[in-house]
Symmetry: C2
Amino acid sequence: MERFTVEILTVGNELLIGKICNTNAQWLAQRITRLGGMVRRIVTVPDSLPDIVQALRDCLSRKPDFVLTVGGLGPTFDDMTLQGVSEALGRPLKLHREALRMVEEKVEEMKAQGILKKPWLTPEREKMATLPEGAEPLYNPEGTAPGVKLQAGETLIICLPGVPVEMKAIFDLHLEKLMAERSKLKYAERGLFVEGIPEPDFSPSIDEAMKRHPEVYVKSHPKGGEATSKIELHISAFAPTLEEAERRVEAAASWLEAEARRLGGRVERLG
Amino acid sequence: MERFTVEILTVGNELLIGKICNTNAQWLAQRITRLGGMVRRIVTVPDSLPDIVQALRDCLSRKPDFVLTVGGLGPTFDDMTLQGVSEALGRPLKLHREALRMVEEKVEEMKAQGILKKPWLTPEREKMATLPEGAEPLYNPEGTAPGVKLQAGETLIICLPGVPVEMKAIFDLHLEKLMAERSKLKYAERGLFVEGIPEPDFSPSIDEAMKRHPEVYVKSHPKGGEATSKIELHISAFAPTLEEAERRVEAAASWLEAEARRLGGRVERLG
């Protein structure tokens, strides 16, 4: 009854200049958690080959069950994730027949829609079908660049594109089932909103709740600064069955509710 | 004319279960970029001491000018960032007089507002004033836990609370001036929206733009999947003066506009 472990490696300068928020990592973390996995680390590196190679090696050294890379699969000069995987593992890049077929299929669709005007098999498109040795392409229903799947020791490396709609589609199509089968645990959660008790005064109660319910995790989030005395509590648990997971979080949530009232706070359940 | 480097280490299980998006990292990355800094890595680890210690050591091994930690400064058992800094650097935790004065001041405010009901110097509050040896507290105008500043070799470590309003207040009050002085570069950016050209067909033009304007960085983001042929271009540059930075991005933006029209695309400037 062991949770599988995941590290997420997001690649892209746009994340490091703060142009966008890493919603891809959040979406993946949420899905993986609900599938019974444990995301142990999220790392963001620039579109720079040495950074990708070093970060990927660091991830692999911790031997997670999965490493998910996000971004850098496209056609431009700064899409270099697959080159990074190739260098980190010492597996040369090769044009992959099945991946090329997937790219061709997308090109045919675009031709049919009248989008394409130029000779299609440009070096840029060929690049998207050039994978590290031993890798398999994952069909991308929403774009040209296929995802990539590659076993490295005990770790399954999955490379996803950075365009959210493409990333999600590949996850849904290929990874959801894989992860749900890998895990045998179910997940449940509750939210409580406590008002009128400063967080430092409520934190002994949180510690006590986790001592009484060691299989439950309680995280407190002060809202709007400590002086407002508003705390959001997030209570979560895994269990072999959904019923058991629900029973566990409910027991801890009820105890914390009673405790907050005992200390003079107001409590509300969150949706 | 060298940009200073920053690594951001965000701590918190809520980020790894996807409960929230890492908007703190995005906000910091945006501010640091505009102050002339370069964020080289964003790392998220769980509320786990060995993970914090290992990640912090990894950050320090790359010798950035700054490491910013975010989160884990509060009173609860799972706030362990300062313990992590202490272990990573081998500097014991000690009750800090000035930090304790800051915590006391906040407590007086809360007493005056009638929020406090219990004896105030709980172990939880003392913890927030217990810093690694050699550290200085940074006054937190929005909450109890002070920020922390600590030199480690060539790197200045700054520990910020995870509550966004507190993190931002400490950044504005203490770090903005420090970083602006450290950097002598100014930053400018432009956005272009190009429609009607698939990204792989436009990417040679992007490469060409960066060859013609090597001091400018152009990043392309396909919007809504490749088949829609919509691309957002982000064009940015640093220069010793704001005028020069503006001139550089404008030159590259104008060239790309003309190029997109030449290829039959529609172009729009983004705000």
